[in-house]
Subunit: 546 residues, 2 copies
């Protein structure tokens, strides 16, 4: 061999090695691997740096846009990942981080995820997923049953039927909501004489054929932002996602909903779906689903429930009544990476009737052929990993009784925390926890009289200052990295729908204790002493002097 | 404590344990975990059963739609997963499975995936992903540079700019193509005087405002099925995804493309995008991208390249010329879980101009706020895992030179295999490998004269029988489980565009050798001796007698 040939052969050999030779247990990567499997909490605690670095600083480590010509050593890349990525990531699993919708993971999810990655199945078709196809169909069936409680005959007939799908597994609630609205949209503009259906001819032709001015989707003003995105993607238009006002408890007002449906119909707009919210992202509030179901049913409108967050409340015999009416929905979204405690990237949408998803069915020559059981024929996504195996494991290892405990504990903790806030003179509860989410804010003494005044301009001015205070406290607390609450903006009735910025607490991590929650408040009280916050408080007092 | 309270406390304790206590190294799960990290290939070989069980039989293990009330032991669930899921999954990593677009994984992807899962970041916003946000933006920048080769000033300015995105990371090519067409669609119906833009007002209002009859997307008949799905989802309609005929080498005919653009325009249809295929899923063929770019540029049409498969060919100094013109595309799709050797669930779409994605930008109150660097403001998906860290690792550990070797070796192997097929009297090469994909079929002696005859009906009848033979052989080979080629259906010019079913071979697994490929043919020759195949061959002979 010439020298050049020898070199080429050597690179080839070393390349093949990375496909065949595993990490040695005493290599950097091997050690991390063992440390994660034997003490996950310890690994996260040790490697994630609490105090927040400025994002601009972090970016410096990710500023090179050029793919290197020569390979790095695995150990160098791992050092980089530990020092620059893991160290500066967010400690999602921390029990004092109560602002995220993700939580600590049950330990078995990690080794099971590794099995999933090792198998690297692609669930788009049976040929690349075999047993994962019936497994995913079973998981869809189980969630369908959680909601609709049909009998074994129903599932015996439909769960594995190649020509039907009673749900679609996907990467999360956004795609699940998109799938539901896609199916609903296509169903209101179906094929008929002289019209091949919207899927074939497009939205504009469909509206023209059926003589509709536009399509509309109705949802409360607490509806998730993914619905607006779906309205854009599906060509409906964000303006035609109509936000219905909520009551003092952030629940949709059925009277206004019914009224709006009828107004739109009279104006020539076809209401293609009403979306009920079952656990809003911001306040955890649940719409009166039976009242919405009545309105939808009377008018023959597709009724979708977005229970990405709240769906698993159905496991709780105590609290499931909050979702009464969900079983009347035509489609329901549930996220598995939220309250089913599965790692990021798993959600699903289930459909009451096995026929509904037919409106989006599609096939191709080399894949998802007609008559096959290929899951890709009813999904927005194409290639997808086998996350369903993790949901399957959760449903068996945690089971109904385990999820019930998790739900009940979370709600109990939220209610107890709400009581603590209400009993504290320096905090104000903004939304009561219906589920395990609540919102509140810091309320300095100086603000109280101002907010109680009859002068609405003065009330608004006070709220604006309070909003700055809330933002300051939240950002500082996040930057310190010891605990975390998120923040959002609401328009509470009690303040004439003024924008009010709030702390948002999500109590899904079973390791969060009441003592930790007390500490969250204590830390906020300490932050209040910061000069920047004090200055805002002084500006409140000066407002009072005016 | 009462007995009931004690029991409740005990369940709670055992529940908390699954969130805190890791698997013991000598538990079932612990042992599997170690076995996968120390010998992945051995684990797969040992646990995946080669011979295919009938799907109906497999389904019996996944037939219970009821979520169990009581928790299972982790060990019982793991036994189930091993016996019923892993055993009956597809050996994607096997070097003799040459029909899949996924391959063996570099070993470092597994422990890195575990780190990713352990961190459980959510890339929708900085607050739940911190360093993963700049990391993903860097990965997008690197792929952007691979294609567009802009200078460091460009990336210094745009890569981390909060108000812009030069690409969108997602779960795979389907969502990437959807993202690109969504952006293109919104850009042709922008806001103007008296019109708030399609995102706000919807597709029908947009068409009316701009006085277009419809929108259309043009792509060769080899375009991926995800484009049809995108045309449906986006409200364009599948009929308006116009398939342009290909030449003898499965490449789009630019003359017909240009003609069709102009015909559509004259008919009042706005061509919103032309899609070039760079590595078709079925044949690996690449459209003449420069010719398409000329046509698109002259007419001011968005030019998208779907190089989900072929994109990484750019790493090869020898073969990158095949993609000449890709740098003129307005947007480009690349799958990371294909030829970047990342586990399932990673793809991206990059955009030439930092402004293009603005047409789909969106914000909300509690998330992806304006001015933030949150990645969710330009993505179809919401919550997403940190797969970008795996792409980042591949780009550094394998690097340009490693990917170049992988690409060059795959193409060389495909060309060598094509030569073997051409030299075999009993096989027929149907599509020459331009990249590392080729198609062929078994061709019994009896068929040769028939296919050469002047009687087109006889030729078609022969092809129909040959199609049954190809299907039979492919299904039998898959069921035996020793090796795997996939199959699809083409319409080759040499057979007057008769449907011709073919074996499809994808040579991306670096562990596949020429000896393995010889064995694939040998096994097919053995399957030909099966009575069912022989009967089809006899029916060919009788056709000859007619």
């Amino acid at each position: 061999m010439t020298e050049i040939k020898k070199q080429a052969q050597a690179s080839l050999d070393s390349l093949y090695r990375i496909f065949t030779v595993p990490e040695a247990p005493d290599s950097t990567l091997g050690k991390i691997d063992i440390s994660i499997s034997q003490n996950l909490a310890g690994f996260l605690q040790e490697h994630i740096v609490a105090a927040e670095r400025d994002l601009d600083l972090i970016e410096k480590d990710f500023s090179n846009p050029f793919i290197p010509q020569q390979p790095s050593f695995v150990s160098d890349q791992i050092d980089f990942v530990l020092d620059k990525v893991v160290a500066q990531s967010v400690h999602i699993a921390s029990p004092s981080f109560v602002g995220h919708m993700a939580s600590a993971l049950p330990y078995f999810m990690l080794p099971l995820s590794r099995i999933m990655t090792a198998l690297n199945q692609n669930l788009v078709k049976v040929e690349t997923s075999k047993a994962f196809t019936p497994l995913e169909r079973q998981v869809i069936g189980m969630i369908h049953h959680l909601i609709y409680e049909r009998d074994s005959d129903f599932y015996g007939k439909w769960m594995h039927d190649p020509a039907h799908a009673i749900g679609s597994f996907c990467s999360g609630g956004t795609i699940a909501n998109l799938t539901a609205l896609w199916a609903a949209r296509n169903a209101v503009l179906p094929a008929s004489k002289d019209f091949a259906g919207i899927a074939q001819e497009g939205l504009a032709a469909g509206l023209q054929h059926y003589d509709y001015r536009a399509l509309a989707v109705l949802v409360s003003e607490r509806g998730h932002y993914s619905l607006g995105k779906a309205a854009d993607i599906l060509g409906i238009g964000r303006r035609n996602l109509v936000a219905i006002e909520t009551d003092a408890n952030n629940r949709i007002r059925p009277d206004l909903l019914a009224q709006r449906c009828d107004d739109l119909r009279r104006a020539g707009t076809k209401v293609m779906a009403i979306v009920g919210v079952a656990g809003s992202s911001e306040t955890g509030s649940i719409d009166p689903l039976n009242a919405i179901a009545d309105i939808a049913q009377e008018r023959g409108i597709h009724f979708h429930v977005d229970s990405a967050w709240g769906g698993p409340t159905l496991f709780s015999r105590t609290h499931r009544r909050l979702l009464a009416g969900i079983e009347r929905a035509d489609s329901v979204t549930i996220d598995a990476h939220k309250q089913l405690y599965v790692p990021m990237g798993a959600g699903l949408c289930v459909f009451k009737r096995p026929e509904t998803l037919a409106s989006v069915e599609h096939h191709a020559e080399y894949i998802i052929r007609k008559g096959s059981k290929d899951l890709g024929s009813h999904s927005v996504e194409g290639s997808r990993p086998g996350m369903a195996v993790l949901v399957h494991a959760g449903l068996h290892i945690i089971a109904r009784s385990g999820y019930e405990l998790l739900i009940d504990e979370g709600i109990a903790k939220a209610k107890a925390f709400a009581e603590i806030i209400k009993a504290s003179s320096d905090f104000e509860l903004i939304s009561e926890p219906e589920l395990n989410i609540l919102t509140y804010r810091y309320l300095p003494e100086a603000a109280k009289a101002l907010l109680a005044s009859n002068d609405s301009a003065q009330r608004s001015a006070s709220n604006m200052i309070l909003n700055r205070i809330t933002r300051l406290i939240q950002k500082t607390q996040r930057a310190l990295g010891l605990s975390f609450v998120s923040r959002t903006q609401l328009n509470p009735q009690r303040y004439d729908r003024d924008p009010v910025v709030v702390f948002r607490v999500v109590l899904a991590n079973p390791l969060t204790t009441m003592a930790i929650l007390q500490n969250v408040l204590e830390e906020q009280r300490r932050i209040v002493k910061d000069p920047a916050v004090q200055e805002e408080i002084r500006s409140l007092s000066s407002l009072q002097g005016e």
